[in-house]
């Protein structure tokens, strides 16, 4: 009852703005047109009808597309920063880019191939000072919680010389931070979203480890706390067969995703990745029926991020000559 009074006063303005913006999102129809477009030029013409248009005018190569999408997100976050009454929600999303950047830098420092991973401009960390700090091992200038996560990741790597340790430590720090941010907002929708995300990360760690026949100690170390499916349960299931694993998860919301990802005696992580995004988008759709509050604000950012992700798949897919059918298989469920 009290929230029904407080929420419109606190979030009303921001929700009003994003509710209108939601109607301008790409939506399934337009995405389908983008998938079926003849070439990138046609796609640009379709995008010109939307607020993406101005970002793609000069784009030619896949690198340009990446940059345009990055710019689009930067402008989006600037807009949200201006209207959201609760900056912590934005920090939730931006801290993920910071942790991504830390991973990229650490792996570059230790000479690991980073593949397609590139520096994201969306983080809050100052690139030059961080780069220098990490290179020289001087972390004083870096703020918490990044600093302690970096320190631990670096010392763990130097002990084990295993670059996976960097991912494990930084992921743990990231999800702990995300959980704390959500918990502070005292919003069930938000907390449950984080816990579901943690479950999904755990399931991925589990599946990858199983595929590579890693030892149990690895799983015990890498799994995250605070998910709905407890860490202990997953550890207990690790030595069991895939059938038992699928059966044990039958009562959870992840049953379908896990079942569909089983391919013989292995897990197909490509399928799981796609289902994972679909699952989370379906979850945030609950917020569509909440007229005002924190929920629409959170789900708008998630929906936009998902839209950008989908757009990246479609545009880069088209540029690299994939068929419409192949691209369509990779396209995610959309919020609108």
């Amino acid at each position: 009852m009290l929230n029904a009074l407080k929420d419109p006063l606190k979030y009303g303005y921001a929700v009003g703005r994003i509710k209108v913006r939601e109607t301008k999102m790409l939506g399934t129809n337009r995405l389908e047109r983008l998938v079926n477009a003849g070439d990138f030029g046609d796609q640009k013409r379709i995008l010109a009808e939307t607020d993406y248009g101005s970002f793609f005018q000069e784009a030619v190569t896949p690198e340009d597309v990446e940059k345009s999408l990055g710019d689009y997100l930067t402008v989006l976050y600037e807009f949200l920063e201006e209207i959201y009454p609760e900056k912590q929600i934005l920090f939730y999303f931006i801290s993920r880019y910071d942790f991504h950047n830390l991973k990229v830098l650490l792996k570059a420092k230790y000479g690991e191939k980073t593949g397609e991973q590139i520096w994201s401009e969306l983080g809050t960390l100052e690139p030059e000072s961080i780069k220098k700090g990490i290179k020289e091992g001087e972390l004083e200038g870096i703020v918490e919680p990044y600093r302690s996560a970096l320190e631990e990741a670096m010392s763990r790597f130097e002990e084990s010389k295993d670059s996976q340790q960097i991912d494990i430590i930084l992921d743990k720090a990231l999800y702990e931070l995300l959980y704390m941010i959500a918990k502070k907002q005292k919003n069930k929708f938000f907390i449950d979203y984080v816990r579901s995300s943690i479950d999904i990360v755990n399931l991925k760690v589990f599946m990858r480890a199983k595929n590579l026949n890693k030892e149990q100690e690895f799983v015990e170390d890498a799994l995250l706390e605070r998910g709905f499916v407890s860490k202990e349960k997953l550890i207990l299931l690790y030595p069991e067969s895939l059938d038992i694993f699928v059966k044990e998860l039958k009562e959870t919301p992840y049953a379908m995703m896990v079942r569909d990802s089983v391919e013989g005696q292995k897990f197909d992580l490509d399928i799981f990745d796609r289902k994972e995004d679909d699952f989370l988008v379906r979850y945030i759709k609950i917020a569509k029926y909440i007229p005002v509050g924190l929920e629409p604000l959170i789900s708008y950012i998630m929906a936009k991020e998902n839209e950008v992700k989908t757009l990246r798949i479609i545009l880069i897919g088209k540029l690299s000559g994939l068929s419409a059918q192949t691209i369509k298989e990779r396209v995610r469920v959309q919020y609108v």
Binding site: P8, G12, Y13, A14, G16, R17, V20, V292
Partner: protein
Amino acid sequence: MNETFLWLNGYQWTVLAASLSVIFGGIGSCIGITSAAKMSAGVLAEDPDKFGGLLVLSILPGTQGIYGFITGLLVVVFFGLLGGDGKSIVLAQGMRIFLGCLPVMIMCLISGIYQGVVSTAGVAMVAKRGETAGQGMILSALVETYAVLSLVVSLFLIMAAQAG
């Protein structure tokens, strides 16, 4: 004449009745309108064409304040509070006037706030689809009913108190 109940005599109870009717109706409307108008402002910042529908949705919770005002004004006029005749109101009559105003005081406070909640949801609806403004107004007006009913009963009770 100088009989009192809870330290107030008949005249004072009458003044209290008129004041609280205006105050509580006003509070309900303020909260209701703020709730709907704040969200409308967000929608209008993006799409100024929706002003027509949003104005009506935002203004609907405002009627409760008017009902409180009508009630308060009638008490002032009926019982001669302006001219000084009101001083002669006995405690029994003052209490009847106060109790007669209770429906408006309570119902306008509560229904104003809740009408704001429904109007806010209506604003969210209009943000998505402009043509649903009419439906939003009807839903919001459903809450209005009970404020009107309380006004009618309060008016009758005040008239009964005046008739003696």
